[in-house]
């Protein structure tokens, strides 16, 4: 986990083509000292990183973002108002070793963040 103590995976299930991780967001994470003082709001990039880390579990390999087609952040997520959320990941491997990712963070039918991206193996770029 890049941002220590940011979240805890509670459980994981398969729902048709998606892997669904139920996670708790930790309001005591150090990042909230600065984002923002006295008003904890999940940094959008930390939620994107959480998706990448869940996708890495699905792939069984460390992944990183190569490109983002679109990422929409439609709800202001806070660890106080949204202590438990679902990370829904659909990951399709491509012939070139990259992965096509479609993912959401939300709860039931509500979507707070949606991400369409190409992910690369982390090893493949470490020596760029």
């Amino acid at each position: 986990m890049l941002i220590k103590n940011y979240y805890t995976i509670l459980d994981r299930r398969t729902d048709s083509s998606a892997e669904v991780f139920r996670v708790s967001l930790n309001k005591d994470c150090d990042v909230y000292r600065g984002h923002f003082p006295e008003k904890p709001v999940c940094p959008g990039v930390c939620n994107m990183q959480m998706i990448v880390e869940c996708a890495s579990l699905v792939a069984g390999a460390g992944l990183r973002i190569g490109s983002i087609k679109q990422c929409r952040l439609t709800t202001l997520v806070t660890p106080v108002d949204y202590p438990v959320v679902e990370v829904r990941v659909t990951l399709l491997p491509s012939d070139d070793g990259s992965y096509h990712l479609e993912a959401t963070i939300g709860q039931a039918a509500d979507v707070y963040l949606s991400l369409k991206a190409e992910l690369l193996k982390l090893d493949a770029i470490a020596n760029d």
Binding site: P43, I65, G66, I68
Partner: protein
């Protein structure tokens, strides 16, 4: 105008450990230039490289500083700038410790509290990230 270190706190509400802009080299109604040097205590550093989330946060804070600049110039408090959308982003390489990210941002469009910008981030003259971002401003 140029801002460094804690002077940047006048321009945005983010505070350590998630301040991802070291220097604001220029700030106008149409563009902004910022920089960030990757240090060991950066929370987005892993195995000696700055992860994508840190690069995107650096660009997002540049965008928030830019979007909030008119209010600052007119004597207001820094406003919370939230990322609303990212489009057409590419992360071509991950910066390493001691690298300096240099970001140039241009205004693309602006309407009713929503600012659309395009950013390019380079390290030593090589582009490492680029993309478009929509930022929403809220009163803090």
């Amino acid at each position: 105008m140029m801002f460094r270190g804690e002077q940047i706190y006048q321009l945005m509400p983010q505070r350590p450990p998630i301040v991802m802009v070291d220097v604001v080299q220029s700030l106008t109604d149409k563009s902004a230039d910022t920089a960030l040097t990757v240090k060991t205590d950066n929370i987005f550093v892993e195995n000696g490289v700055l992860r994508e989330a840190g690069m995107i946060e650096h660009i997002a804070q540049t965008a928030a500083i830019f979007a909030g600049y008119p209010a600052f110039r007119d004597g207001g408090q820094p406003r919370l700038g939230y990322i609303g959308e990212l489009r057409k982003f590419k992360i071509t390489a991950l910066p390493r410790l001691a690298d300096t990210l240099v970001t140039h941002l241009d205004l693309v469009a602006e309407a009713a509290g929503v600012t659309l910008v395009e950013a390019h981030t380079c390290v030593a003259g090589n582009c490492v990230a680029e993309g478009q971002m929509k930022v929403f401003l809220k009163d803090s």
